[in-house]
């Protein structure tokens, strides 16, 4: 947990990241930056999905619609915060010459997306019959 708090402090203190280790090849930093942006786009897509569920599924019953929309929005928030955290961790690992951090997050996110997709199929099918 203290590691996490230290990472959060690094989010806001650019000069502190540079205290450690040496500057990596700029191409690695840029690749890390692009990965961060790709995760941010994933987060934005989840947020957009939340809007879309709310706007384009008017036949869905209200609790389902709001629940799914809020779940997607929460996933988007989680995804964007994790994007920064992972970017900081990767940047530090590169400066120190360590292995890049392993992460369970991609698996988690894909499982959540799969569950939501299955739920949507069930809801749409049930809505069709009802």
């Amino acid at each position: 947990m203290s590691e996490f708090v230290r990472n959060i402090r690094l989010w806001f203190a650019p000069e502190r990241v540079r205290d450690e280790g040496g500057t990596p090849d700029y191409r690695f930093s840029l690749a890390n930056e692009r990965t961060f942006l790709a995760w941010l786009r994933t987060a934005l897509a989840l947020i957009g999905g939340g809007f879309a569920v709310d706007q384009f599924l008017p036949d869905l019953s209200r609790p389902w619609r709001v629940g799914l929309a809020l779940a997607l929005l929460a996933a988007g928030v989680l995804c964007s915060l994790r994007a920064v955290n992972h970017w900081v961790r990767c940047e530090r690992a590169m400066r120190r010459g360590e292995d890049l951090p392993a992460s369970r997050f991609p698996v988690l996110l894909s499982l959540v997306v799969a569950v939501v997709a299955v739920a949507m199929v069930v809801v749409v099918l049930a809505g069709w019959e009802g």
Binding site: W11, R41, I47, G50, F51, L73, V77, E91
Partner: protein, 114 residues
């Protein structure tokens, strides 16, 4: 820009260009989300809260656009380009978080019976 690159040596992997385009793509994704937000905010008549949230969505997107633009200019200014400042990364992510919060308010507002 090409001539400046030519003097200092071009990166054969086009890393700064790819990173610039990644920022552009992300800004575009943000624009799509902002448009969806505006649609949701103004759906079924414009209330005071709806207009406020609509303006907030647009403002957040403009904020992200500004941050992306600064980074894009920094990327094309020098070779090799400076690394991304953590503060800017955090700002970009917080724009996404703020948009999601705005969206949650919009969704909950729409869910309430009129």
């Amino acid at each position: 820009m090409t001539s400046r690159r030519g003097r200092t040596g071009r990166d054969p992997g086009l890393q700064p260009e790819r990173t610039r385009l990644a920022w552009r793509r992300t800004t575009l994704s943000g624009a799509v989300v902002a448009v969806l937000g505006v649609r949701t905010a103004l759906h079924g008549g414009a209330s005071a809260l709806g207009i406020t949230l609509c303006a907030l969505c647009c403002g957040l997107w403009l904020g992200f656009l500004t941050a992306a633009h600064h980074r894009i200019r920094a990327l094309s200014a020098t070779t090799p380009p400076p690394p991304l400042a953590p503060r800017r990364a955090t700002t970009a992510a917080l724009y996404a978080v703020a948009t999601a919060t705005c969206a949650a308010v919009l969704v909950l507002r729409a869910a309430r019976p009129a």
